[in-house]
Amino acid sequence: MNKLIISNLNKTYPNGVKALDNVSIEIENGMFGLLGPNGAGKSTLMRTLATLQEADSGTAFLDELDIIKHPTELRKVLGYLPQEFGVYPKITAEQILNHLSVLKGITNTKERKELVKYLLNKVNLYDKRKKSVKGFSGGMKQRIGIAQALIGNPKLIIVDEPTAGLDPGERNRFYNLLAELGEEVIVILSTHIVDDVRELCTKMAIMDEGRIVYHGSPQNAINELNNKVYEKMISREELEEYNKTYSVISNKMVGGKPLIHILSDENPKNGFQLVSPDLEDVFFTKTNIANLKINNHV
């Protein structure tokens, strides 16, 4: 059983943005979802764990291994798919994976060949292995990215927004692949697609403005909101009014009209209906704090 212990990580950018604010989490084997709105500090955290960025202070250990002090050691057991992933043009899928396998220390040529074939097959690119990557679509490139993150025997796999650009079929394939791996290693999946986390992850954290605002299992988070979330279809003109009166956690358009979710300990009546909360509600509850606070005063 591997364990990743992050304690008190801090990072402030030169422009004053606090990207990591005293972040501490423990992560064990399995899929771990990291949710958060844009700019919450997810990528900073991921990059720090992937040894691509220095934290101002704090520590991160993978088992006994000090990630901050010995980045090279971590790199040996790391699989990483960054948010933006591209490939060299004019090089084939096979060549690029082979190159990365060597970089990850797979020195036996036969093993490497087998591995590359296996991975290409896994991401459904085996037929295109001899093609120059230049002609690949965004999704195909992303699949190479996924394949490379699995090279070697990683103990820690970090994937940042991995399913962007994938069609639903590929997405499923990919998640199955991750889930398979997740039994033995730590997989950190950063995303803002709430469903992904619900479907895949046993543990999760929500980040906002550099802080961990929730850490636990998705189900627990949902359970916390049981009997507290109500919904109502309103008209667009009313939205302002409702925002003032209730703790609106989300509003989305359904058939051209806003459908709002609010958080309330007791039944607000007024046409609201109790709904069973989902992870999205959790996400908005945790990250729309400003909105909620105002409402609590009302």
Binding site: R47, A50, T51, L52, Q53, E54, K69, P71, T72, E73, R75, K76, L78, Y80, L81, P82, E84, F85, G86, V87, Y88, P89, K90, I91, Q95, I96, N98, H99, L100, V102, L103, K104, G105, I106, T107, N108, K110, E111, E114, L115, K117, Y118, N121, K122, Y126, D127, K130, K131, G145, Q148, A149, G152, N153
Partner: protein
Amino acid sequence: MFKTFFFSEIKTALKRPMIYIFFGLVSLMIFGATASDNIRIGGSVGNVLRNSPYVITNFVGIMSIFGLLMATAFFNNSALKDYNNNFNEILFTTPLSKAGYFFGRFFGALFLATLPMLGIFFGVILATFIAPMAGWEDAERFGSFYIETFINNYLLFILPNMFFAGTIIFALANKFKNTVISFVGALILIIGYIIAGTLISDIDNETIGALTDTFGVRTYAIVSKYFTAIEKNTLSPTFSGLLLWNRIIWLTLGSGVLILSFFNFSFQQKNKKVKKQKEVKDTKAQIFSLPKLNTSYSKKTDWLQFKSFFITNFLSISKSITFKILFLFSAIILISSLIGGFEYFGLQSYPLTYKLIDTIQNSTIIYLVVILVFFSGELIWRDRQNKINEVIDATPHNSFISLSAKALSLVAVTSFLNLFFIFIAVIYQLINGYTRIEFNVYLLDFIYGNLPLFIIWSGVMILIQVLLNNKYVGYFVSILIIFVWSIMLTIFDVSSKMLTIGSTPSIRYSDMNSFGPGLHGALWFNAYWILFSLITVLFAGALWNRGIITSLKSRIKIAKKQVPKSYKFVMLGTVVIWFLTAGFVYYNTQILNPYKTSDVREKLMADFEKKYKKYEKVKLPKITDAKYFIDIFPNKRDVYVKTKLKLTNETNSKIDSLHFVIDEDWQPEFKIPNAKLVLNDEEFGYLIYKLKTPLDTNETIDIEIDTKYITKGFTNGTGNTNIVQNGTFINNFDVLPSLGYNQRMEISDKNTRKKYDLKPKKRMPKLEENCTKNCMGNYLTNGSSDYINVETVISTSKDQIAIAPGSLIKKWEEKGRNYFKYKVDTPSQNFFSFISAKFEIAKRKWKDVDIEVYYDKKHSVNIEMMLDAVQRSLEYYTKNFGPYYHKQVRIIEFPRYATFAQAFPGTMPYSESFGFVTNLEDETDNNVIDAVIAHEMAHQWWAHQVVGATMQGSTMFSESFAEYSSLMVMKSITPNPMKMRKFLKYDHDRYLRGRSTETEKELPLYKVENQGYIHYGKGSLILYALQDYIGEDKVNTAMRNFLNEYKYKKPPYPTSLDFLRHLEPQVPDSMKYLITDWFKEITLYDNRLKDATYEKLENGKYLVSMDVEASKIKADSIGNETKIEPNDWIDIGVFKGKDEEELMYQKRVKINKEKMTFTFEVDTIPAKAAIDPRMLLIDRIYSDNSKTVSEK
């Protein structure tokens, strides 16, 4: 519509800083070039004013080529602006006119591209006002401006050049929509242009060269090549002649390109052709299983990672379009310069391996540097550009591995190219049927020269890119370091190669002496720089930015924390080894072999003159007998010399002291009886010995001077190329200190002299009539001796032969060394060469003279011809001038570090690089070897039997006579007089070009001040024409009589007036005007044939009628010309064929009017007619002298 786009293009650009920056840059450069001596563009020397129309036009020419890079920015931007901003889809769906859009944009950009060029004018004007005020330059170096200089330059050069280049760039940009390709296109245009120019260097294809010149720069050079200083100062380029035609040709071509590009241009996106890819059908359903993986991180992993990085980098360079373009282009340039490449008098040398190495180097090195710079940036930024950097950075590899792989792939790509060039060269050798292909020389030269260079620059540029963290800033700094750094060092007068990145002593392969004296130093410098490069890569590895881009400061912080101990240890170790190497190199180049920088040397010369000029007139004895004992140690490159001299007081007063100026490299020791060293100025090497008993008139003293040249370690430069392992060639002035103050050590350039407050220097003492006092010394030995007996005992290693002038008296072996004793057969000039090398000897006996050629065994091909040439010269000269007084004639090959031949008494060293290796297989009768050998042979009479005083006019009867003699020898074996015209043409060119670059003043032949273009070029032409006008025997009689009066005589030495005294009786009265016109004044002719017709007569013959125009021009010393009425005898004639090979009729006619018509009868129809058909007269434009004859 056109107007809208045209003006909007200009308005937008004027709001941006770029155009002002460019304008400022150009102004600044030209301002610098005009106002200061340190920056040299354009060529204002001597009497040419710094702001003359000629100089301004050259500025425009040069800048408009380099301004293309700026122009590219405008044209490319204007073509791609909408496309890059993704505005094209919006714009092109509006109903606008294609022509208006296309041409509006183009001409807008064209106008903009010419604006920065106006900075040239601005810079010149500014400098003209500021430089004299600030005291940087004398006001007299500037003249007034002519408005047409500016207008014509704009319309003739700036606008058409930008137009033509613009059409190409605009077309490229529209076609490829890629900035890089546009810039590569511009670059290729520039580099190709520069190199292509070297292809058209022979005077025979000058006109083609002038018309095919894309930018008109060389056209102008050809048009203005015979301009005198005054013309350069007053004439602006005009819309006429070759220049106009050239401009019309290129404007037309440009318009063609533009129109093609317009039709190709479309608002719609073209359907891209889809390559049909073969469907690889993998029908076999394969099942893959995850293999059991064993990751390991050992040295082997490092190696594999390095290899993998290397391969991906190498592939990415070699597959890129930029690379392919540069590759193809450099290969084309190389091939075309191989095919072209005339060398000397229209002859080519055999394709020797070292010649091809030189060609490869000259025509391709710039591309290799461009590749290094460009791809250093590409490789470093490739990962980021492709967004794979985070993945790569997060893998467990050492940054040094990836960076050194990048560096190595740069080295590999450039090396691959270099080897490919060698392959092309070998093919070229084989195609030419040349089989002595020296692969080892190719390879070693590459290993000693370019390979280290690639390694060094790759490392350095990678560090630059890593440190600066911005690709374009990196490019900029790289280029700055490559090109500007060395200029900066020159400005600050630093010449140590240890400070110029990648610089090493230059090595030059010679068939005789292999890689030569520079090799030792080059190897050490290479080691020093390669270690430096390794350090730069190690540093780059430590500072390489993994992950997010951060500042250099924080990267240093991270590096301190993360770089492992072992790595730091390696870094430290490398730095230590580098320091040790640096120490060793420093010790050798600065302590063991110190040198003076050019500024220091210049100042030293000035101070020397100021301090010791006072001794110039001190009376000194002359050397009246000399015995040299010379021991040469070729392997160690040491020479020991013992010289026993007899000095005799030939003045009519007592001499009480001896003055010497020594060369510290030769460490002289003086053994002078009864003398005391009273002055020993070590700084300037000036020594005075006081004699206890002064020397009376005609009294003699025996002295001994021992000198030695010891080669120690290696030097900052190539080192001494005269004392080498095979082919040592030194003369008595090298080994002996100079006797007394030597005028030749003074600074001669008048502007430099001014800088040091030295009075203007007279090049030569004035010509004197009935000269005695000032004619006591000859210019060859600078007055130190007259005709004397000389003996030499010279020894060398066992495998070499050592040669000094004179008959070989004795030859023996002693202690495993070869000894030779030589003695001159007749008293000769003390002008002696000492040579040692491994030689083959070819011998021939002519009467009682031994003709010997000493040559390297690889160079046997032309030896028979050389023997023939010597024999022919002997025959002609003994018949026409008088006996030959030596018992031997020797031609001795020496290595190609210098390209000349020189005449010592009976002995003529001749460089290996011409003559010995020139391909003469197609030349049937006369050729350059004949010419050079006959010239040097003639010096055995003209310079060695009779020589002039150190005075104006003296070189006329050594150099002009020798060149004339050589022409006469060739004439004696040339059946067709028209063939001589080919030779005369080169002499014409030499003279006319020479006078156009005269820095002080042109003098008439009889007062020539050692000016090559006059005594070789003009002198030979005049004497040749004279023998045609008054008869060969008349001229030769005058020369023979002159020789007989003075040969081997004690001083006073003769002057040119003494020759004219002998010439005059030989010239009939009707021709006396020639002496004035040709010898005593500067006379040019402007002859042309206006019209020539023929008509058939009843007697079956043809009546030819020629309308000629002729005028005579007198020039003064700075080129002011006055036309005078002609009253001259000039030939007219007709040719049988268009090729002007056969002259079927000629007549010498009196021309006393500017326009005259002549008629005469011939037997058959002539093809062409000409005035002065054999090119005897000096005519600046000879091409208008002949015309096709048409039927009346």
